[in-house]
């Protein structure tokens, strides 16, 4: 059952992204920025958590999930460290992902070359 919900929630988030790109002049970069920011805001408003509970990876793998982790991290940071947590919480919660993106990204870029289409 968790797979089905992951599929549906993840798929629907992507459809929203597709509609944004097809019906407006937004480029992929715009859509990604909007999704991350939206993930942060929806989590802060308590709207994204139910989606994560329902969809699991379907809500955490798409980019709003990155916003979700940032927002959850920052709230946890504030709870534990007070004001300082405002600045450390977000990155602390997403440190793994960001580091992986940098390191794996660099590694693949060194190893491989782009192919002409």
């Amino acid at each position: 059952m968790s797979y089905l919900w992951a599929f549906i929630v993840g798929g629907l988030i992507c459809v929203i992204g597709q509609l944004l790109m097809d019906t407006t002049k937004l480029a992929p970069a715009h859509v990604l920025v909007i999704f991350v920011t939206l993930g942060v805001i929806l989590t802060a408003l308590g709207i994204y958590q139910p989606l994560v509970d329902l969809g699991g990876a379907g809500a955490t793998i798409p980019l709003p999930g990155f916003g979700y982790s940032l927002a959850k991290g920052v709230i946890k940071g504030v709870n534990e460290k007070g004001f300082f947590g405002v600045f450390t919480g977000g990155i602390e919660a997403t440190a793994g992902g960001i580091t992986a993106a940098v390191v794996f990204g660099y590694m693949m870029a060194v190893l491989f070359n782009p192919k002409t289409k």
Binding site: A6, C14, P28, F112
Partner: protein, 149 residues
């Protein structure tokens, strides 16, 4: 001047009529299935690592993201990810694997310009804005939360 803007408007109307519209249904179907499929693989990885490595739910989520980023980066290096993206559109852009793709593709492309100004500097041409807006908005949320608490 007024006539000119009118001409432009009329021309843009003509362009709109002649230019083909995107295939909304086809694009959305692809986005749904590919995006859903990637999420399902994520769920599978999540469940597997949670069970096999005895991780907490949060740890498993983080581990899943690491693995997905690795896979996205690898598929980009192998020249497969852009072929998925051509059909899937947002279905492969929006998942975290697409974020990895947006980092690896410019980094690889600008290797000839050197490892500092090429690879390292270009890595964040597309992913940079995501980090900037994601982190900044999370700080704003944290600040509001701190003040309200």
């Amino acid at each position: 001047m007024k006539r000119q803007t009118e001409n432009k408007k009329r021309y843009q109307q003509l362009v709109k009529e002649i230019s083909p519209k995107p295939h909304y249904i086809k694009n959305c179907t692809w986005a749904f299935f590919v995006g859903g499929f990637i999420s399902m693989i994520g769920q599978f990885i999540h469940n597997s690592v949670e069970r096999m490595l005895n991780l907490s739910h949060l740890e498993a989520t983080n581990a899943t993201i690491l693995i997905m980023i690795f896979v996205g980066a690898l598929l980009t290096g192998l020249g497969i990810y852009d072929r998925i993206g051509k059909r899937a559109g947002a279905g492969s852009i929006v998942p975290i694997t697409g974020f990895a793709n947006s980092i690896v593709s410019p980094a690889m492309e600008f290797k000839r310009e050197g490892y500092i100004f090429g690879v390292a500097a270009r890595m964040f041409t597309l992913a940079g804005p995501v980090l900037v807006y994601g982190i900044t908005s999370s700080v704003l949320v944290g600040l509001i939360y701190y003040l309200l608490k």
